[in-house]
Structure formats: C-alpha cells, structure tokens
Symmetry: C2
Subunit: 653 residues, 2 copies
Amino acid sequence: MANAIRALAMDAVQKANSGHPGMPMGMADVATVLFSRFITLDPSKPNWPDRDRFVLSAGHGSMLQYALHYLLGYEDIPIEQLQAFRQLGSRTAGHPEYGHALGIETTTGPLGQGLSTAVGMALAERMMEARFGAELVDHYTYVVAGDGCLQEGISHEAIDLAGHLKLNRLIVLWDNNSISIDGPTSLSTSMDQPARFRAAGWKVIEVDGHAMDEVASAIEQARKSDRPTLIACRTLIGKGAPNLQGSEKTHGAPLGQAEIAATREAIGWPHEAFDVPTEIVSAWRAVAERGKAARLAWEQRLAASPKRAAFEAMVRGELPDAVRMALANFRKEHVQQATKVATRKASEMALAAINAATDMTVGGSADLTHSNLTLTRDMGRIGPGEYAGRYIHYGIREHGMAAAMNGIALHGGFIPYGGTFLCFADYARGAMRLSALMKQRVIYVMTHDSIGLGEDGPTHQPIEHLAMLRATPDIDVYRPADIVETAEAWELALSANKPSVLVLSRQNLPMLRQKYTAENQSARGAYVLREPDGERDVTIMATGSEVEIAVAAAELLAGEGIAAAVVSMPSWERFEQQDARYRNEVLGSAPRIAVEAAARLGWDRWIGERGAFIGMNGFGASAPAPDLYKHFNITADHVAQTARQLIAGKSRV
Amino acid sequence: MANAIRALAMDAVQKANSGHPGMPMGMADVATVLFSRFITLDPSKPNWPDRDRFVLSAGHGSMLQYALHYLLGYEDIPIEQLQAFRQLGSRTAGHPEYGHALGIETTTGPLGQGLSTAVGMALAERMMEARFGAELVDHYTYVVAGDGCLQEGISHEAIDLAGHLKLNRLIVLWDNNSISIDGPTSLSTSMDQPARFRAAGWKVIEVDGHAMDEVASAIEQARKSDRPTLIACRTLIGKGAPNLQGSEKTHGAPLGQAEIAATREAIGWPHEAFDVPTEIVSAWRAVAERGKAARLAWEQRLAASPKRAAFEAMVRGELPDAVRMALANFRKEHVQQATKVATRKASEMALAAINAATDMTVGGSADLTHSNLTLTRDMGRIGPGEYAGRYIHYGIREHGMAAAMNGIALHGGFIPYGGTFLCFADYARGAMRLSALMKQRVIYVMTHDSIGLGEDGPTHQPIEHLAMLRATPDIDVYRPADIVETAEAWELALSANKPSVLVLSRQNLPMLRQKYTAENQSARGAYVLREPDGERDVTIMATGSEVEIAVAAAELLAGEGIAAAVVSMPSWERFEQQDARYRNEVLGSAPRIAVEAAARLGWDRWIGERGAFIGMNGFGASAPAPDLYKHFNITADHVAQTARQLIAGKSRV
C-alpha cells in the first residue's frame, strides 16, 4: 500500500517534469499507517463536520496527498488527475490548494503555515466540543510537517500557543529526514527539536518512520495524550530510490527514467506508470469504508441530538439577522447622538452589539487587547483546557494568530477576528495572504493605523501597509471615517465570503454621516459625503481619519465660494466593483485631491492626471499626533491651498 | 546608580504623558551591572569599530537607553533631551531609532527585531575577527530582550541560527518579568524558555535580576562561554513603584504623580524630577572613562597593525572601483554576446564578477541556494566556529536572514546579500522594513518573481509584492529585463546607502539592450529601449520578464505601420527622482500601456487616464509558465490588440 504512494508520486512528478518526489516517498510508510489505521474520513462526503482533519504542512509533497486521494477513492481525483499533475486547470496543483480538490483542508506551500493553521483547527474542534459535546464533536487534527515547517518562525508561535492551550487533539508527524534544499539540515541548524517541543508543553515520541508498528504505537499514544503530540519520524527522503534516497536531489526534481526503473526494481513494483493493482486499490478503498461507517453513525447521532439545529446553524456559518438588526440600530443611534470616538473604540462598541447578537464570533488580540479593543463583556476566555469561551489571548504572535484564525474559519463553526497594530500586519503577512487565497471569512482588526498613533514613532506608524493590503487580491480593506462607517465595515466583513481588514484610528474622530440610511453606504466602497450647492470646483477624496480633514477643508473653501465635494472612500475594492456610471458620479469631473496619511502608491487611479495627493512621502516620526499632522502638512489648510492651486489651473502637484 | 535610571525613566514618561516606565525600572539593576562593570563603550567616540554593541530589543523601554546615554555623557543627550522625550524633533524618540542619537546601534520596537539583528552583529564580529584577529576585533554584543521578543516567531529563527553558529559573543539578558500587555504572560504562554534556548544550543543562566552580584557573575560566565548565552533575569516590572510594581499597568503608561511621589519615597530618591546628584552622575561618567581608555589602546594597536589599511577600508565600506570596472566589462561582454539567461542566472554571473573583485560581499540564502543562485565559487562557507568564509546558509528562515543582514550591515565591514523567492518577502517583511527605515545597504535577491515560476502555483507566485515593496519608503526595487539591466541593478544596489531588492526571473530572458553604454541606464529608473521612427502612436512600458513581451508587441505593431515605443522601467523609485523633462520624454504623449505580471496597483501613475494595464487581476495558478502567460492573457498579441484599441480612441481599458 505504501509503495503505491511511492510509485504514483515518482511517476506523476516525472510526467509533469516538475515537483517533489522525495517527501511522498519518504513519508509513504507513515502516511499509510495514519490513513489505513487511524484517520476517519469519508471520501463520499468529504466535508462532514466531525471528520478528522489532515493537513499536509509540507505542501511541496502534494503528490502524497493526491496519491492518497486517488487510492481512497475521492471522485474528483481519478488517475487522469495524477497524470495532469501541475498542469493548467487540473485539481492537482503544485501545492495543495484549498477548494481545488475535495478533502484538501487548507492551502499549504509557504512553510510552517499548515502546522500553524492546524492549531486553529484543533482549537476550533475543542471549542465546538465544549458547546456540543463529544457525541457530535470528536475528531483529531493530523499534520505532516517537514524540517522547513519547524525552522520557520511561525512554528514557534504555533507550538507555543498549542502547547499552552493543551490542544491534545493535535498530532504532528514530523518528516525528520535531516535534508533540506541546500543539503543536510546540519548546514543551518543544530536545534534539538524534541527538546524544543517539550519546552513548549508538547508530548514527544521518536520513532523510525519506516517501522510501521512503531508509528502506529506512537499515534495510539498521541491520541490518548493530554497535550499536543509531536511524533518525530526518522525517515529517508526519497526512500525506495536506490541511488538517490537520502539525498537532497530527490527533494525538488524528478528522479529521471533510469532511477525510476531502478526504484521499481528495488521496491518490487513491476507495474506500469500510474498502474496500481486492483487488490491494492481495494485495500485502500476498504479504509474509506471505515470512514463512511463512522460518518453514518455520526449522522444518526446528529439526527437524534437536541442540539441539532444549533449545531447545523453554527456549521452553516450564516450570519444571523439579529446581527444585521443590531448593527442597523447601532448606526441609527449613533447618527442621532453624533458620537465622537476613535474608530477603534467605535469597533469595540459595534462588537459589543455583534457579540451579544451571535455566538459565532470568536475574538482575540496579539497581546494588544486594551489597545485594539477587541474584548467585549461576557465573552469568556479560552485557556488551557477551557474552551467554552470566545476570547483568545493569542500572545505576542501576529503570524500565529492569523494562521490560527485561518484554521478556525476553515474548521467551521466560528467567525474569527483578531487584532494587532496595522504596522504589524507585516508580521502576519504570510498567513493573511492565505486568508485571501482561500477566501476565508477572517476579520483583521488593525488599529493605530497611521501617524495618528503619535509618540510610538516610525516603527509603529504604517505607511505602505494600505497599499500592500489593497494590492492583495481577494481581501477587502476598510478604513472607516467614523463610528457609522465602522459599523458598516463590520457588517460587510461579517457577511463576506473572504477576509476583511478593518483599519482603525487610535485618535478620536467626529461622526460625519449626516443622516441615518437603511442602506449600508460603505458597501459601495466610496460615496459622496458632502455635495456642495451647484457645480463642483474640486473633489476631495479621503479615507479614515483624513475624512475629517477633507470636510474641514471643504468648509474653508465654501467660505471662499469654492464648491468642494467630499468623497469618503472606506473601501477601494468595493468601489472598483461599482459600475462606471456610479464611479464617475462619485469622482466627478472637477479636479481631485486625495488625502490619506499613507503612501501615495495606488491613489493615482482615483486622482487622475490633473489631481493632487496629500499624504506621506516617507516614514513617520515620534511626536504627539497633532504635531505630526502639522509637521507632515496633512491639514485642512494645506488641502484648501492645494485646491485653490488646482482650480487656478496650476499643474499637477 | 540604578535608581537614577528609574527616576529618569518615570519622570520622562510622566512629562511626555506617553511611554513605558515598567521595563526601564525593572531592568535598571541589570543595566547598571552591565554598563558599569562590563560594556566597553566610549561616548566621546561612539562609533569606534571595536566597541561592544548594545541592543535594546525591547525597544519600548527606550528610556532605559536614553537614561543611560545621559548618565554616561553622550553629548547629544543632555537632560533637555530626556525632558523632550517623544516630542517632535527630539533625539529621544518613542523607540530607539538608529541615526537619531549617537550610540543607538539599531532601530527597535517591532518585537524580536533587536535580538535577531544582534545575531547578525555577533556574526559580523566573528567574521571580522577571523580576518583581522582579536587584536583588532574583540567585542561582545549584548541584548536586552523582553517576553515579547521571545514570543515572536522571528526569535526562533534567530536563536536557532545563533546557536548553530556558536556565536559565543552574543549575550542576551532576558527581562523575565512574566508580564505582557494583556496581563500575566501565563494568559498566553507556557513556554519553558530556558529549555527552549538550551534546545537551540545556548548556554542558559537563571538569576535574580535585582541581585547585582548574581547578574555580574552570570555575565562573567557568559563572556567565557563557547556558545551564545541567555541570562534569564527574574525581575519585577516597574520595580520601585510601591503600588504598581509587578503589574501590567506599569508597562505602557505613566505612573501618575502620586505613584511617582510614592516611588521617590520608596527608593530613597528625594531629588527633583530630572535632577541627578553630581556624585551619581560622576560615578556613571567614570564608567565611560574605562571605555575611553579601551578605545585609545585599540587605536594604538590599529595604528601599529600591518592590517590597518585593509581594516579601515572594510569598515569604511566604500565599494572598490574594481567592482565597477568588473561590472562594466561584464555588461560590455554580454551585450556583445547577446547572452540569453534568466535574470536569476544573470545575477549569479554578475555575482561571480563582483565577489571576485571584492571581499566585502557576504552572501547567503534562506535554503534556496540553488534556486536563488547566490553562491559563487571560492566564497567559503560560514559554519559553527568557522567564520573566515563569505557564504551563509541561513536555513529556512527568511525573517531571521533579513534581520541578520541588517545586523551585519550595521556592524560594518561587509555588504550582505541574501536570497529567497519574491513571494517569501512576506515572511521577511518586518526586518525588510527596518532595512529601509535604517537605510542599510542590504541587498535582497528575490527570484521566481511572477507566474513565470510556473508549476509551484499561487502560493509561490507574487502578485502584490512589487506594490508592497514600491510603496515602502527608502528601498529601491529593481526588476531587470535582461542580463545587462541585472548587472546595472547590482552596481546600483552595491553603491546605494539604502537597501535594494533585486526582483529576478526564473525563466530565460533575451538580451534586449542594443548597444553597450558606459552610462548605467537603469540608474534613471526607466528609459526608452526602442524608439520607433517618427512620432509615437503608443508607448508600451514594462518591467523584467514582460519587457520581452513589450518588444515583441512593438514589432508586431511595426509590421502594421504602428509606431510603438518600448520603455523599460526597472526601478520606479529612481524614475520618480528624475526631473519632469526626462520623465515626460520617456513617457511620451501617446497613449500608454503597462505590462507587468503583477497587480495593477500603482501603475496608474505612469499609465495616465487614457492608458491600459495588462497584468494580473487575481492570484496565479499552477501550470508551466508559457501556459500561464497565455491563460492570464499577458502576451504580445494582447498588448498589440490593446494598442490598436487605444489608438482607435477606444476608452481606457
């Protein structure tokens, strides 16, 4: 059964003339033990909620997973898919891509992500179990990780969090082959990985990864552990290839026809390429039957459970109407009260309404709870062995938090949100990109969004981060200008089928919306906040904390008889999706000025050739926020002066 | 002496009404031992090469460093600077900023960066020592790190690398106060840090951070260790504040006047705010005298050393003329030969010339040596205890690599370059931003720069990364189109006083330059590569691998009598610095098309309102590169067709 994996992997990589045979061949024995004796999956219903989760963190070994899926009988992976490995339009992408093929639980490839995402899955399992009991929720999360996964920094954040929270349903099988791309791992590391995992509160078992009974016994122990388990599997990379096994040469290139022939000989596999004998296929398919039986039994338990409706609603993940109603009332109330607060505070107030209206939201912060304002009353905290709550202290681990949120969202049942300073989106980038690539409903609460944070200085003041996020496909960025836009952004983020980033101010901002509308105005991405009487002389566009400045400039100009419109642009992505007519109506034909305390990059699309940008030309500085706005000349006076110049026909600024 | 630090810290934070008193007060005793008994610094010549390096990795505790600088007599930190803590224009920024004040060795604040940068410094020290001997190079790198530094993922990469390389001159003093911003660290971590550091090959010593003799004894042992040392200092955050010490409330806010008065009482410090008795100032200044004597003795050794000229040249860091000559010859040769190679290969070939012409370059890769092509012949490898070489296997640690390169550059003596895939700039973002903020000559060799990498698929294919890098201030991005532009980019990067990113193709690209010019054409950022006869009908702009497509499109159009110019734009940053006349000349007045296999964001600046963009609208896919270019419609045919439409007056595409 293991040799079927080896043969399929080496043949598919050879046919594609691209890929990584070494890892699937080295881990074939471990994978065979895991899948044939332990993992509970049902290929005929790949997404049933109580299945075990399998995460191939060492995603370059994707042929391991595809070979398994073919052998187990996933209907979307017939043999032709293995023959089309890494080709345009096939399900068998170079790395496992969530959504491309059934049963792929998460996208992997960037090293360490799978392991860290699995922490979120394993946590979500415990949290669902705390709500619905072991009758409905009783599964494991298995990870295959390589040396690369364990060297990446994100692994530290992930294993510390998992160890702290005692996520005993998390079992990591480390492909301990001592080889990385440059050569032996001894070129670059002397880490005692077992000791390191023990230091993080993990159980560690060391085995020969080719001794199937040792592997099986280790998995059995791991399943009974009161903490997460690392099973260190000593393996030979490319195991079976008589001349190349144990060498980095098997890692990322086809073995070549000669070595493939020699491998067939060595492992006693006389079959043609992509040909697996019926009895071996049957043995694998029998494994799938075990999963099917488990699934059917679970469905009976669900049908009989008094918690069925609640469980299904959580798993379906639809936002309850109560949340939308709560947010509509919230907006109405604050328009009336003209509430002036920082948008981070507005977010906290909106969250209080949201978290009271649904149990699906799960909040947290990377140790900036009282700055991000992500904790609301009565959420209950998640801790070691305590999973009934809804608030996670992620620690000083932005990257681990983002990956864990991906895992929570992928697992199903919850809507995760988590906070840090916008500047530290840098630390979370790797996992944030995967939120987007997988279109997961993960909500990033990024406060302290500009020089407006003041004294902490340039290391904490985002400049390029809005451009970085806006350039990233499939992620919606919101930079609300006041409490109403903040609530609108929350509503859109909670309703989206992709990640969202809420970019929020530290400093207080006035309520700018002039009246309550049932329509969520931020949904169109940009809208006219102030339209002057008569024809526009100039349009001032701004986002977030700079909309206040734009409005003040427009008022200055109005005093001089200059008709300035103000456009609030909380979300470029949404504005781009509007039809040309709406966009032209908002942008107008008068010269345009953009105001944003960030890098210019990207704004020219909206400014046009005659326009001007007022924002940051370099890094920030350490001083009180009002001083910084003056210092960097992001003021109503400067906007007004620029408007006068543009109207007078001076050239582009 | 320690209470002077405490008082200055609490008073400065109070006056600024902003800042972090807890850490300086908690670590005042440790810092006093370190500075008064061990560290060799000379405030009157802060940059002498053999000084010890002090890195405040827990940068929010900046008042610890500023208080020390005042007490030690750094001339640019008189008491007025402490009184102007965190104010506009003062040297005493919220976090220590490299270049703002003498003796600040690196910018810190984003947690974990200082520790990881220090690894580069400690490595550079050993590398210089291997070249010049202990007579000229014999110093330590001391780090003060907090819980946050040790929780961040980057710390894992850094300590693994330092332990592996046996950087025994690296001594980390951990402020083990068990408090983070959200509260006790037990909210989010159960890590056994000493065990973890031991697993990474470190010596670990645990002490009471308020028992000065214990601390001193530990530092003495650490200085004799054959490996890096963690000194875990158990401390009380805010030590001295009778009602608040030990609480997270002292972390990031002023103590308040009442608690400050109570602290004065409790620690027996009856002096006014910012008033330090002369005898205590004198005691501190005496410490500085020890450093001065050491510096003078070192200068005598240098003066007498036969290696003096070579040492001074390395430390000065000027690029030898031999490198420029080698690169000029290189360009001439390859224009003549019309060499067609991937730009990553072109980079390797250029590096062979560069590394032969200077010893200052120090290369490496995050375990992608044979993909990034960063290793040239006879560089010699850096390994545990072996520091004479010039090539570093950074391991699968992009973030740690970037931070270590910052440290190597800051230390002086070398020009570091390091490789990974462009997509994994995501993992290195935190440290890359600091390269820019500190304007360090660090060169990032980022290969596999687009969908052109092919089968590895969307997780490995950069889309938004060019926008992210271009939006970052003070970093030059080069995306060369052929071997000549690659050599030009290397020359510019090596000559710069800031970081550069070389964005290089996996796939082969033809030589496009038509003749050799002594002038480095890439220095202007963009230039006309093909000018048609007669007036332009259209201008096609492109970078990197898409310039070939632009040229092919222009040739197609020429066949139809349409005059298309081709502009190669290897560096937007440099093009922006050109005068308006040159820019207008290059861009022309005809409609413009931009071609780049990446996100559009930012291109509108160059396209203008009538132009078109051909590139990526979302994430990539897994397939051979030629298939992907066709699939995403980034082809000469599509460019030509778009040109025809624009010329026919169709609206913006």
